[in-house]
Symmetry: C2
Subunit: 503 residues, 2 copies
């Protein structure tokens, strides 16, 4: 079954069984239920790139039959118990910015919007933690913390359009994950409701005993829904020190990043762009004047994308890679670490570009999320991760696999001592809309297969959803039985977000 | 119910129900079953210090009714299914070196010895991992890996008498955990059998999706038994660089350790001894000639322990604290980090003692485990952990709480950027045997209460067992319901290692 099977041409009316249960649903959530077409349409989609193709075809993802807005854990428990009884699916919903189809209502059912769980508690300065509701928007939380002198350290590109609950559900990573970790590293405890209808609150980050939170995080709504979390916070950094370097090849850039971690440096952000991505980044509005290859990227983005076979080999000629490194913390340490990074990079043949490009990257790092849809060109993105010894092979095999039908850009980020994430962007020319979908599916099958056969993990922080469900299950090997056991135990009626993670 | 309730004066015969099931048990494990008194006695105890008191009273912990030695996952599954059917307890058993009573057969039942799961697979040099059976002894594994040029990096004090399965069950930490992490950080995947009788194998360390391994690790046999694990390995380090320092107080020593981590240094081992522990360590056979306070520790260990009220205040006079730091890896980096650590410590007023004391500590670090029982004096140990801001308070409150009836020694170790473990040793004079048990129970209640009220976690790496079951449950707060839910799901008949973790 392809993802496209979940797209429909006309919005079906809510199923009669759901309409019949409307009274009970309404009672469960103090009247905050809707079966209106507009609401169901709004909750039918996330930011799955393929859904923009569907939109141009007049299609939408299969919508939920109803939307509810619970306010308390008890509300949520009541909805789930009702859904168990009546065998409706329940799809926990944050802000809908996922890119893997993780909230598509594959079998209809009830979209459970958590946004009323919007409380942000006081920061406990001794314990350095804060209690927040699962529906709190990322940007709101970070601003509130900063105003009080703290930071969560979690800056996903989606921060303006994603919630704490969505982060927990997908094991989100932010742009400063090299220093602060992924969201699962920031969590002290989480609470919510299981697919059995039972409420849960996990023990605080245990040194001993089972770590229940690590089990439910990443479950993408298939085992439970989250309602709140206790998160670790840090003093707002006194300083941020940026530096960018040009390397003469991807290999050298990757070697340098690995070396920074081997030397024990703890950059907050490390971001290496491959040659095409470096050229493309330099074209972004507001890019620093030191940008190189001014003509190429504009062409890539808007005109010449019909000729990937011609453009991709340019990667052998255009070889400059831009590495951006940022340290934060107290001034003295950040500057000392910056000097250490500069010494390491220069000894490996890098050209030091100073702080300008890094500051620019940081200021504009999320802009492209809002602009990509405007270019007219087709695009898709895929992120995977790999241990250091496999990163280059994954990169090369994905480029080879996609090279005949898309121009391939790659950013290497979320680095650690073990490895890094690879964020690919595939730019293709605008094609007849009927061909676009087949091309997207072919692209995904081809490039994800190439990545995993080179030893990549199927995802790093975007999650699985429907998009990578099959690849994820394949990657589990015998472990799929453990997951199936869990699913059976925590969601005995199979009502929680059906189809995601391949469950 | 106190732990002592699980001690019996005479070995009861196996229950008739178990004898009746002997044929079925035997069939499940190809005849490897015993109900002999000697075997049942051998599996009745672990290294719970209180059990040495019982031994002197002619008492033993409640023994299992039978011991089985399965060889395959299917054997284990058959035993567990049979136990479910007949409502026998199943107690997974590694090498019996736990110190919390984690393998005491509180309700009799079947001791499930995993030692036949003794395979050590080839090291995958690309992926840097190895598959090992749960029954492999730590020392055997480490020697085998070193012979091939690798290391696991896991060196618990119990390495000569503990198994991989025991490490997984208790979330074990080794002496080099500051660099390599705890066992749960080294695990790529684990496999075993749940209390339902279902086999499981977890997905490899997932960036996305649930992390099932983190759930079952630390469960101390209450949810499942482990049969094998895939563990991360590292190239055997080229060099080890040692250095020791004397600080003028515990506060200064702790400040220095925290600072090393804040500066991004990654020591393999960090070990700070409080004044009494420093004096005691200096008395160990083979201690370097630079030892100070030569007379005190000998007295502590053998003669003067009847006067804790007199000795403990000496801690205000005897204030020198010994910090031992070790870096490992390639020579250049280890030496550079060592210089960084020296600069930081000297700037904080430390006296540099060079490499001798550190090398000595490393060589003799496990000796005392084999010698403590010979001193005649009573002793007990307790380890807890705390975030940095609470470490000093935990230390002081435990000393105050125990000070009237034991001489208190403390080692601070397993440090990270977040906090460290506190390993307390309580030395008391030999008392009438009938008073010893009451004193031990009083000590535990008092000191563990003092530690947790100051914000300590109940354990760092020794586990919970029976010893800390109540304190662990208290520490869970609302999280205890999550744990109870898990227990019900994974062990519906409550047969897995009853009583441990308070389950």
């Amino acid at each position: 079954m392809t993802i496209a099977s979940f797209a429909v041409h006309a919005l079906p009316p809510p199923r009669q069984a759901v309409l019949d249960a409307r009274g009970a649903l309404s009672a469960a959530v103090q009247g905050r239920v809707s079966t209106k077409e507009l609401d169901r349409l709004a909750y039918a989609r996330d930011l799955l790139p393929l859904a923009t193709v569907w939109a141009r075809q007049g299609r939408v993802p299969r919508p939920p039959d109803a939307v509810v807005w619970p306010s308390t854990d008890d509300d949520v428990a009541r909805v789930i118990r009702l859904a168990r009884e009546l065998r409706f699916a329940v799809i926990p919903f944050g802000a809908g910015s996922g890119v893997c189809g993780g909230t598509i209502a594959t079998t209809g059912g009830i979209a459970l919007d958590l946004k009323r769980f919007d409380s942000i508690g006081p920061v406990d300065p001794q314990r350095r933690c804060v209690d927040v509701g699962a529906g709190v928007m990322g940007e709101t939380l970070q601003r509130r913390l900063e105003a009080r002198g703290w930071t969560l350290g979690h800056f996903p590109a989606s921060i303006a359009m994603s919630t704490v609950g969505g982060w927990l559900a997908t094991r989100s990573a932010g742009q400063l994950s090299a220093r602060y970790g992924k969201i699962e590293d920031m969590v002290l405890s989480v609470s919510g409701v299981l697919g059995t209808g039972e409420r849960f609150e996990t023990p605080e980050r245990p040194f001993t005993g089972p770590d229940f939170a690590q089990l439910v995080m990443g479950s993408e709504g298939t085992l439970c829904t989250f309602t709140s979390a206790r998160l670790r916070v840090h003093p707002r950094p006194e300083a941020r020190v940026f530096r960018a370097f040009d390397f003469s090849s991807v290999e050298r850039g990757l070697d340098a990043v690995r070396r920074l971690f081997r030397e024990g440096l703890r950059p907050a952000a490390v971001h290496l762009a491959d040659p095409f991505a470096s050229a493309f980044d330099a074209q972004q509005p507001g890019a620093s004047k030191s940008s190189f290859l001014p003509g190429l990227a504009g062409a890539l983005a808007t005109r010449a994308l019909s000729w990937p076979r011609l453009l991709n080999p340019l990667g052998r000629v255009v070889t400059k890679c831009r590495l951006t490194v940022m340290f934060e913390g107290d001034v003295k340490h950040a500057e000392a670490e910056d000097r250490g990074a500069a010494a390491a990079c220069l000894s490996m043949g890098a050209v030091d570009l100073g702080e300008g490009p890094g500051r620019h990257w940081f200021r504009h790092r999320n802009d492209s999320n809002f602009r990509r849809a405007e270019t007219g060109a087709s695009f898709d993105t895929m992120e995977v991760s790999a241990p250091w010894e496999r990163v280059l092979d994954v990169y090369q095999r994905v480029r080879a696999a996609a090279g005949s039908f898309a121009v391939v850009l790659c950013h290497f980020s979320h680095a650690s001592a073990d490895g890094c994430a690879l964020d690919f962007t595939f730019l293709g020319s605008a094609v007849a809309i009927d061909a676009a979908e087949a091309r997207s599916e072919h692209l995904w099958r081809t490039v994800l297969g190439a990545a995993t056969s080179a030893g990549a993990n199927v995802s790093h922080h975007h999650g699985i959803g429907l998009q990578k469900a099959r690849a994820y299950q394949d990657s589990l090997g015998e472990g799929r039985h453990a997951l199936a056991t869990l699913k059976r135990l925590f969601d005995p009626d199979g009502i929680m977000n059906p189809g995601k993670l391949g469950l």
